[in-house]
């Protein structure tokens, strides 16, 4: 039952040669094989994982210092480039695409001793909140396989919850790590914009997104962040320095429960979140209700900016240089491009078309520019709240995990579930989702936000809560 171990335990045992990474990875792969028919978190399993684990064991035997993730099984969202392992973005457009280079975060994971066990499912190009929009079929929520795991990093959260890996990487553009973390009852972090390199992350909306870790404990998430965070010469938007994080420190934090995040949320969710804030108060935090009125602009601003950027980012997929098997013979290039790009899924097409519209001349000022103005208002308001509070709290998702297929035909209803998560992306601040409890057997996540580069504060708050609340356990699969 080695696959149940958290990352900290695996790394410690592998470093101390109490455990062979090979044996552990072997068990993880068996676990994947066993539960995948129910969960469908993986798109590609890394065939070389055992071999890589064996090589790591050998290195450690030979006296090479063990990294902070020595031998740990990690799953990587399939929109993060892995050299030699196909990276499909769950899209037909990239069915046969094998990157010739590793994303910086992947390289850093490997340098820290991590073993990548596979590439996990997502909504096509990370566009969605349920992991239903995937060429490889929907990922299922391990707590109830008739329900969605959240998205777009559904595979990243579900694989961690289903014990198919110890930790995983997802990407968070508008809540894509935190939403599935909440729905699958794992810890998920969206770091400060510019803290983690995006080199190798396939862009959806580059001014909003960050690569973020998911794990079963706050400590594991902190460890992974410490490995991947910091300046990267391949990404001009990364901040200077290579920070490090500790598990958590119990301290009396000032906590603001954001009224707007509670209003309109499911009653069962609200009850659990209020309980979570009470728990923090019992731990010595000063908790009170506060208000972030500009939340009302968040969704419109977020979707306008995200779709605009997406429409341009996805232009490169014309199937000329890479993509999927399709002969250009007999096409004039314009018609070939149209033909090839017809292979995007419906949701991606919807966002490309909407994004192109808001950028078109005559509408740019009316939509894109206005969205940017709203974004700076939200950012300013949030910044001023962080003068009064160390962390802002609320539910990660306003609702409980819903049935697969329930909202798939109503894009607007689907977009609404992101209302609490997009704020952190618009403002560029870090946010974490930590398991807060269950309502009728379905997970609820507590979202905590802090000021830019205050990830340690989030780990302190979330770690404190995690210890006190003791929301643990794994689903039966």
């Amino acid at each position: 039952m080695l696959y149940k171990l958290d990352a900290a335990s695996v790394a410690k045992k592998v470093a101390g040669r109490e455990l062979s990474s090979e044996e552990y990875i072997h068990q993880v792969l068996e676990r994947i094989e066993k539960v995948e028919p129910k969960v469908n978190a993986f798109i590609t399993v890394n065939k070389k994982a055992v071999e890589q684990a064996r090589a790591l064991d050998r290195e450690i035997r030979d006296g090479k210092p063990a990294g902070p993730l020595a031998g740990v099984a990690v799953a990587v969202k399939d929109n993060i480039s892995t050299k030699g392992i196909r990276t499909t973005c769950a899209s037909r457009m990239l069915d046969d695409y094998v990157p010739p280079y590793d994303a910086t975060v992947v390289r850093r994971l490997q340098d820290a001793g991590a073993i990548i066990v596979g590439k996990v499912n997502l909504d096509e190009f990370a566009m969605g909140s349920t992991t239903e929009f995937s060429r490889h079929g929907p990922t299922r929520n391990p707590w109830d396989i008739s329900r969605v795991p959240g998205g777009s990093s559904g595979g990243s959260a579900a694989s961690v919850a289903a014990l198919e890996c110890a930790v995983s990487l997802g990407s968070d553009t508008g809540g894509s790590v935190r939403c599935p973390a909440s729905f699958c009852s794992v810890v998920g972090l969206k770091p400060t914009y510019g803290l983690v390199s995006r080199f190798g992350l396939v862009s959806y909306a580059n001014s909003l997104e960050q690569v973020g870790p998911a794990g079963r404990t706050v400590a594991d998430v902190a460890t992974v962040l410490g490995v991947i965070a910091g300046f990267d010469e391949h990404d001009n938007t990364t901040a200077a320095g290579r920070p490090s994080y500790s598990a958590y420190k119990k301290r009396p934090l000032r906590v603001g429960l954001v009224k707007e995040f509670i209003e309109g949320a499911d009653e069962q969710v609200v009850k659990i979140i209020r309980g979570a804030v009470d728990t923090l108060a019992k731990e010595g935090c000063a908790c009170e209700e506060t208000s972030l009125p500009s939340v009302k602009y968040a969704l419109a601003s977020y979707y306008t900016i995200a779709m605009a950027e997406a429409s341009s980012n996805l232009s490169r997929y014309d199937n000329m240089r890479y993509g999927f098997e399709s002969s250009p013979e007999g096409y004039e290039w314009n018609s070939y491009f149209s033909h090839a790009r017809g292979n995007f899924g419906e949701e991606v097409k919807r966002r490309i078309i909407t994004g192109s519209y808001v950028l078109s001349s005559g509408y740019y000022g009316k939509y894109y520019l206005k969205a940017q103005q709203a974004r700076s208002i939200i950012r300013k308001e949030l910044k001023s709240l962080f003068k009064k509070y160390d962390v802002l709290a609320g539910p990660t998702m306003p609702i409980l995990p819903f049935k697969i297929g329930e909202k798939i035909d109503d894009p607007l209803k689907m977009y609404l579930v992101d209302v609490d998560t997009v704020v952190a992306n618009l403002a560029g601040v870090p946010a974490i989702s930590v398991p807060a409890g269950f309502a009728g057997g379905l997970p609820v996540g507590l979202q905590l936000m802090a000021d830019e580069f205050c990830e340690q504060t989030l780990f302190d708050a979330a770690g404190m809560f995690e210890q006190a609340a003791g929301v643990r356990g794994s689903p039966d699969l």
Partner: protein
Amino acid sequence: MEYMIGLEIHCQLTGLASKLFCPCACNYRGSEPNANTCPVCLGLPGTLPLLNKKAVEFAGMISLALGCRIPDEIMFYRKNYFYPDLPKNFQLTQYNAYGITSIGVDGKLAYGEKSARIRLVQLEEDPGRLVYEGGSMEKSLYTLVDYNRAGVPLVEIVTEPDFTDPKDVRDFLNKITSIVEHLGICDTNLEGAVRCDANVSVAGGNRVEIKNVSSFADVEKALRYEMTRQKTMVSRDIEVKAETRHWDDARKVTKESRSKEEEQDYRYFPEPDVPSIELGGDFTKSLQRSMPELPDARKARFESMGLTPHVAAVLIDNKELADFFESAIKMHNSPKEIANWLVTDLMGFVDEKEKEAGHYLSGIKAGPAHIADLAKLVEAGTVNRATAKQILAQVVETGEMPSDIAKKTQVTRIDDAGALAQAVDAVFAAEPSAVADAKKNPAAANFLLGKVMQQTKGRADPKAALELIRKKLA
């Protein structure tokens, strides 16, 4: 008839080592197709542009040289359009809107007696190249794409429509060439390193864009052709359409573009992956300090050495010539003499076509050392001017040193007074009637001099010989 002409000039920053947003070589020429590429310039999923800061400096230098204002902050924008030579299907360029400008704006450049306003200078990436193996799109079954050029830094210079005469355009382009060469940022002799689009309209008529002019020399021709075409149409009461025409290099005419270019909406928006670049006054100040000498200053310096404005201008118009001149005067400090040999004599050996194309020294085997040596020989009186010209002709062909040629063919002057007197005596003996004639008419002495020069194969010092002849006649 009144014409209005405006220009859009593209200069590759060939003086840089790497591309605008990746470490690939800026010099793609001679590489195997698609060998000079990397994940970034191929636009592979997940790659991010990494700004080459040196390119910003180079673009800043051009902006200053063209009298432009440099803003405190610049940004890159995405220009979105689909085309097979564009790996990302958008081009990273700059855009002037919403209070943000490109690296240079509102400049002015004087050329000769005139000047033209510069609307903007912007930094952008070059696309790849489409290759037609059949020679043209019509004659090829398929199109090949070579991305070696994709991402090469390009500076676009846009002028106001301030030109009325194609000759002025030519002078202006020469000036631009000389400036970028002096700044050391662009080798204009490289194929495709400079390109020019022009727009031209007759008074009251529509604006016609001429694209695909791949050499500055052809811009003047393309404009003359287009002006004649428009004039003819106006005189026949035919409306000049607003359109884009392509310059047919082989037939030397402008042609209607085959593919009807639709009105494009480029959906410009700021590139999120390249943070805005703070320039500020310090950037401009430090650039100004490090700017190399520009053509105008160099010309003034040449004139201060005693060169005429015309000679100085000829040298400056082509940096290669000016550099040649400066190297030569370092070896033999006689600016006027050397400049004259260079501008009047050496240039006579250069093929007109090559000159047209700006290759002033191609095929010439004479270097600065040769011209310095030649000037020295003349000034020392070792050979006379006529002989020196003959020597130069030989130098140009063989690359031998002038002093070696002079020694080898014994064309050095007869310095020996005795040898000269012998030659004069021989002529007097052979030409008694001419001698008698010259005694009456002093001007006829020149005939005798000619004979002496003939006898000595030009090696006699004419001055000394004439003196001797006069003495003997008296």
